[in-house]
């Protein structure tokens, strides 16, 4: 069974009188452990697709099945639970909670998903932050971190609960190329070490080089697909 199955997915946004068809029939299957990149021009529907895959939104028609559950039939709390246990997010603008330290941001995500496990929680949080190279910055608040460091915290936060799926919407858009590279290598390392499935969107051709599977999206449809070693 695939981790993710999209069939005939359409998404229409309504803004008053105007209707925008952001996705026009997407079929997609993603298996465990894949490191997939979605790319395409601006406005093509990358973010829309990731939102649906991440159970942040529901499709206008068609089905999205995540880990065997169809999100079309779930209510808001059901979606929240699904995200809580199975999906990690990484965003372009990091979206860390500014009043919490790096350590706390990560711990918070873990505690939401797993509850308090005492020492084990502490170990896990410390370990993952060391893995992303922030072992010495546990007590820094987001405003005391650089962009790359913030994104590392975001990655740690997305991964600490060991989700089945990590979604990253243009994770490197705000980073310089050197930092982008470090971040991508980190994600790849995590993908290999933890066998976590990654799906991320990008404009950046450098990002594509890391992917094991490339999806090109144009006008709300997958126009090209490529698998690499």
């Amino acid at each position: 069974m695939s981790l993710l199955e999209l069939t005939e997915v359409k998404k229409i946004y309504r803004q008053g009188e105007i209707e925008v068809e952001a996705l026009r029939g997407v079929d997609l299957t993603v298996d465990k452990g894949e490191f997939t990149t979605v790319f395409g021009p601006s406005g093509s529907g990358k973010t829309t697709l990731l939102n649906l895959i991440g159970a942040l939104d529901k499709p206008s028609s068609g089905t999205v099945v995540i880990n065997g559950e169809s999100i079309g039939e779930m209510d808001k709390n059901g979606l929240a639970i699904l995200r809580r246990y199975h999906i990690g997010f990484i965003f372009q603008s990091y979206n860390l909670i500014p009043v919490l330290t790096a350590y706390e941001n990560v711990e918070f995500a873990l505690k939401i998903a797993k509850g308090n496990e005492g020492e084990e929680t502490k170990e896990k949080v410390t370990k993952i932050l060391e893995q992303v190279g922030l072992g010495n910055m546990l007590d820094r608040r987001p405003n005391e971190l650089s962009g790359g460091q913030k994104q590392r915290v975001a990655i740690a936060r997305a991964l600490v609960k060991e989700p089945k799926l990590v979604l990253a919407d243009e994770p490197t858009a705000n980073l310089d190329s050197k930092t982008s590279k470090e971040v991508l290598e980190l994600m790849l390392k995590m993908n290999q070490e933890l066998d976590t499935t990654f799906i991320f969107s990008t404009h950046d051709s450098m990002v594509m080089e890391y992917a094991s599977r490339l999806l090109e999206i144009r006008d709300g449809q997958i126009s090209r697909e490529e698998r690499r070693e």
Binding site: I81, L82, K111
Partner: protein, 414 residues
């Protein structure tokens, strides 16, 4: 736990805003607590003065007498009575009984020189009067009323008004029980200055055994039996039980509260006013809190989106905001209570010079001199809880509004 931590830290994110809103709440708390202390202090003093100088804890008289007295009419000499033995026994057997004294009150015009002024003449039994009333302790000149003597004791304001000194002559003109004009005349024996201003102007004390001969009533007639008990609470309960015992007679038993209806309604008005002010300030506070929550929500919209993406439910996000609002309430309430306590400490120990701040006499309040505050723990508790509650209630709607933001819009809001 995390929600609490986040809320607590969010509280100090916008320090200026937090400071303003909690100051408003603190101000509400201070205003309420000080007015409350002032009110209770004032009522306490008022009732205290009434009890010590006007109507003690319990008074017993004929129903009709009280009706006419309350109506502002001349006190009816026809409604005087000779106390029966069983009544005195019942009174002495009541809870907390300390002393009883009979008085014979009547209306008269006090005449000295060319002036004339309507007064209440209280004819007293000199032996027992001091056990119930404190007037004698406030004698500033001369002597107190003596049995069989024609001398009177008047208040200092009356002495001033008539320009009277000890030994000066006075005449009391009144209508006796049969309606004939009658007089009592003699010398001013003593002058009192009590803290009850009305007692210093409109009341004259004379020995009952002397006055009674001119009143056209029988020698043992009195208008009221005045009773002092141990404290005000006992006064109310003993008055009630005496009232039950005399239910089928035409005697009426009144507690000091029944007797000073004006004060009791003033007290009610005072409370109403206090709560009105409180409500006003709290409304302002509530608006401030709504405003704060809406502003925080707007500036944290991405954060909210992230928290939703992380799997927090709407209720959990609402909780963050509610906790934050409650936090503002706690800070405002705590600061308010502490400052109030400090100010009230001075108010309780040093008091306020009433004459500087308000004309209590023209308001009809039986007080003068210094007014002291009162510690009222229940008010502190009440207002503290109330402020938190208001903060919570005011923030419910904006919190839900914030928490219901679609995570998609929230995250990509730019």
């Amino acid at each position: 736990m995390y929600l609490f931590k986040i809320a607590a830290r969010n509280l100090f994110r916008r320090k200026k805003r937090m400071f303003i809103i909690s100051s408003i709440l603190a101000l509400a708390v201070i205003t309420f607590l000080l007015i409350d202390s002032f009110m209770i202090g004032m009522m306490d003093l008022s009732f205290g003065n009434v009890i010590d100088f006007e109507t003690p804890h319990i008074e017993i008289g004929r129903e009709e007498f009280f009706i006419q007295a309350d109506d502002g009419q001349e006190l009816p000499l026809e409604e005087t009575f000779i106390p029966e033995k069983y009544m005195l026994e019942e009174i002495k057997a009541s809870d907390g009984f300390l002393a009883v004294t009979p008085v014979l009150d009547f209306s008269a015009s006090f005449i000295a020189g060319r002036e004339e002024f309507p007064v209440l003449v209280r004819s007293i039994e000199t032996d027992s009067f001091g056990g119930v009333f404190k007037n004698e302790d406030y004698l500033v000149e001369g002597e107190f009323v003596e049995a069989g003597d024609s001398g009177v004791v008047i208040g200092n304001q009356m002495a001033e008004f008539f320009d009277l000194e000890i030994g000066d002559f006075y005449t009391l003109r009144f209508q006796d029980k049969n309606g004939y004009f009658s007089t009592i005349e003699g010398e001013v024996r003593g002058i009192t200055t009590t803290p009850h201003p009305q007692m210093n102007m409109g009341v004259v004390f004379v020995a009952r055994d002397y006055a009674v001969s001119r009143l056209g009533v029988e020698e043992d007639n009195i208008s009221q039996l005045m009773v002092r008990v141990e404290n005000r609470d006992l006064a109310l309960s003993s008055a009630q039980s005496l009232a039950n015992k005399f239910k089928n007679t035409d005697y009426q038993v009144r507690s000091y509260r029944d007797a000073s209806e004006m004060l009791v309604s003033l007290e009610a008005w005072g409370y109403l006013e206090t709560y009105f002010i409180l409500a006003l300030i709290l409304i302002v506070g509530a608006i401030g809190i709504i405003n704060t929550i809406v502003l925080s929500a707007l500036e944290r919209i991405e954060e909210i989106g992230m928290m939703k993406a992380m799997g927090l439910k709407v209720n959990q996000i609402v909780r963050v905001f509610l906790l934050e609002a409650a936090g503002i309430g706690v800070i405002g309430g705590l600061v308010g209570c502490i400052i109030s306590a400090l100010i009230n400490h001075f108010f309780v120990n040093y008091g306020l010079d009433l004459d500087l701040y308000l004309d209590a006499e023209s308001m009809g309040l039986p007080i003068s001199g210094r007014l002291y505050g009162v510690w009222n723990a229940s008010s502190f508790l009440l207002i503290f809880i109330l402020v938190i509650l208001i903060a919570l209630i005011a923030s419910i709607i904006p919190s839900y509004w914030a928490a219901r933001k679609d995570p998609v819009d929230a995250i990509h809001h730019r």
